[in-house]
Symmetry: C2
Subunit: 146 residues, 2 copies
DNA sequence: AGGAAGACCGAGTAATTTAGTCAACTATGC
DNA sequence: GCATAGTTGACTAAATTACTCGGTCTTCCT
């Protein structure tokens, strides 16, 4: 899994966008101002998110970005994977190129562990939407006693 | 969260150790041989794990390492945090030094999200023991319908 | 006693990744 | 037609990571 600051910034920006998108488009300059980030850097992030279909853009004066889908339907997992590219948790990446730990053809003992870990993170982030973050509604497992 | 290759190597080595420790101590040279890692690198990893009390060492000929506790009681979370040091998921690290995203005194909207994400990963890794990995017994949540 | 096995330690380096910048281009609205 | 704002791609600087090296200290065996 990645979880780099790049992904964090993307989520911050998207949350900001979700919170200030009342009908009109929001310019990167606005977001940069509010979140204390450089416009140039945000451009990079939004370019990727646009390609993934998370946001739509409008050029020219009064232009900017807006969410492609309502905040309730856009998950954190989508945002993170959009900017951080691959979500590889295993070392071999699923390929059996025998580069790393995979020798002879059998996967190493830890392979399944990392794969499952990646799935675990993915599942959690996919269960949280931008709207959840905005409202502070984070799902904490009911904690079945202890 | 970290999840670096360093942590992965540590888990590989520990799993190997757990699988080959029948009474006698296991030397790093053996592990290096089996897992295709350099002895020098393993020394680094085991030094930290020893300080955390995960393994015990014996010097001199016939010496080596062995698990401090049975494989069932040593979790992956312990191994990973031993070699990867801090498990900080948030950008601010909990401190309100106002360095990063924390401005004015209020935590940014995403703060809780990352904190919860970190907890999620931690919880999962803490639920898996070396013995589980060795036996391929990885807990997959029962998946409550869908 | 002495030599070899093997843990122990700290500094140091090389490679990779990440974060962030810049300049030039294109479309749009007034 | 000019200002606004997104689009693109290459480029650099900083940080982190992975990994090595030289040397020391202990213990066992002969
Ligand atoms: S992680 Fe895939 S074979 Fe080791
Ligand atoms: S992550 Fe802690 S304030 Fe933003």
């Amino acid at each position: 899994m990645k979880l780099s600051t790049k992904g964090r910034y993307a989520v911050m920006a998207m949350t900001d966008l979700a919170g200030h998108a009342d009908r009109r488009a929001v310019s990167l300059a606005e977001i940069a101002e509010r979140q204390q980030l450089s416009v140039a850097y945000l451009e990079q992030l939004f370019a990727r998110m646009r390609r993934r279909g998370l946001v739509v853009s409008a050029r020219g004066p009064g232009g900017g970005y807006r969410l492609a889908r309502p905040a309730e339907e856009t998950t954190i997992a989508e945002v993170v994977t959009a900017v951080d590219e691959p979500l590889r948790a295993t070392r071999c990446g699923g390929k059996d190129g025998a580069i790393g730990c995979m020798r002879g053809g059998a996967r190493c003992l830890t392979h399944d562990l990392w794969e499952e870990t990646g799935r675990q993170i993915q599942d959690y982030l996919a269960s949280v939407s931008l709207a959840d973050v905005l409202s502070g509604h984070l799902r904490r497992e009911p904690a079945v006693a202890a």
